[in-house]
Amino acid sequence: MVSPSDQKLAISGIKLSGELVQINFLPEGEFTAPQLFHRLAERRVNLVLVTLDAAGGRLAGACCIAADELPRAQPVLDEAGGSLTLLPSVGALTVFPHRARYDLLESIVSGFARENLKIHAIASSLATLTFITGYDQLDEAVAAVAAVAELPPNHAPIRPEFKVRQL
C-alpha cells in the first residue's frame, strides 16, 4: 500500500539527525518530567525531541539528546535509577512538509512496519513529521519513506554536516 488512494504523497525532503540517545520516563519515576528537564538543563543538555502525555496525573514520555551529550546527562540519569530506560543509539528521520496530512503519517508508519523498522517515538509540527528509529537503520528508513512518498528528482537526504552547541 502506498496511500489510501494508492498514489505516492509528495514531500519536499528528508532530514536525518546525528546519533541520539532516547530517554523514556515513566509517570511513577523518581523525577517528574519538568524536574527531569530542569536537571538536564542545569547540566546544559539540549533536548532534541520531546513527547509527553499525562498518565495518572503525571507526565510520561520520551526525550532525545545527542549521543555526545550523554556523559553530561549521566549523573542525572544515574540519580533517576530504574525509573528511566535508555535507547542508546537512535536517530531522527524528519520529512517535510507535513502539512498535517493524516495519509502521510499512515503511509510512513505502515512503510516502516513492512520493513521491520522500529519506531521509538513520533513528534510532528505543522511543518515537519519526525520519527525516531535505530541510528543504524536510518538509510533503510529513508528507503521506506521513498517507497511511499514522492521526492523531488535527485533528492538526497539532508545529513548533519555541522552541529550548533550552546555554551
Binding site: 533536548l47 513527547t51 510520561a60 517515538a121 513528534a123 510532528s124 515537519t128 550552546q166
Partner: protein, 167 residues
C-alpha cells in the same frame, strides 16, 4: 564540524505564541504486529480522520506506541470505532478521547539547538499550576496540549519566561 554559540537572554525570544481551542485529542495503543499485517486501524480510519493538527507518540509498556492525534473539532463516531478496534493479541486499544482541549504553540531562534527551552516552558506552566495534558517538541517548535479554558492563562505564564512579540 561543530559551531559553538553563546546565548544570553534575560527572557527567551520567540516568534510569537499561538493558541487553538475546541480541539480533540484521540489516544490509543498502536502495536507493531497489527501494522505488519497491513490491516491496522490507522489505515482503516483513512479519510474519516478529518483535520489532523498534530501527531506524537512515545513507547508503551505493552510494546509499540502510545499514539496521540490532535484534531480540529470532535472526531466522528466512525473514526473512533476504527481506532477502538481490535489490536490483535488480545491487547486493549486503550482508546481515550480528550474533548475540548486547547493547544498553545510557539517557535524561537535555534530552539532545537539550545538547552533549557523545555525547562523554561514546562517550569512556567508548573509554577502557574496549569496542568499539561500532552506535549510535542521537535526542531524549533513547542506544542503543548492543555485542558479547556487554560490556554490564555498558559500564554500569560509563558510570557514570564518568553518574549512574545506584540505584547
Amino acid at each position: 564540524m561543530e559551531t559553538i554559540a553563546v546565548y544570553w537572554e534575560p527572557k527567551i525570544k520567540t516568534y510569537g505564541i499561538a493558541e487553538k481551542t475546541g480541539l480533540s485529542m484521540v489516544s490509543f495503543y498502536l502495536l507493531t504486529e497489527e501494522l505488519e499485517r497491513g490491516e491496522g486501524r490507522l489505515r482503516r480510519a483513512g479519510s474519516a480522520a478529518g483535520e489532523l493538527l498534530l501527531v506524537f507518540a512515545r513507547p508503551s509498556a505493552q510494546g509499540g506506541l502510545r499514539l496521540h492525534l490532535l484534531f480540529e473539532g470532535r472526531p466522528t463516531w466512525h473514526l473512533l470505532e476504527e481506532f477502538s478496534g481490535a489490536t490483535g493479541g488480545g491487547h486493549p486499544s486503550g482508546l481515550r478521547v480528550d474533548a475540548d482541549v486547547e493547544l498553545i504553540y510557539f517557535q524561537g531562534p535555534h530552539f532545537g539547538d539550545r538547552y533549557g527551552i523545555a525547562d523554561a516552558a514546562f517550569g512556567a506552566l508548573l509554577g502557574a499550576d496549569i496542568p499539561v495534558l500532552a506535549a510535542a517538541c521537535t526542531g524549533a517548535s513547542i506544542y503543548i496540549v492543555l485542558p479547556k479554558d487554560t490556554a490564555a492563562a498558559a500564554r500569560k505564564a509563558l510570557s514570564e519566561k518568553f518574549i512574545v512579540p506584540g505584547t
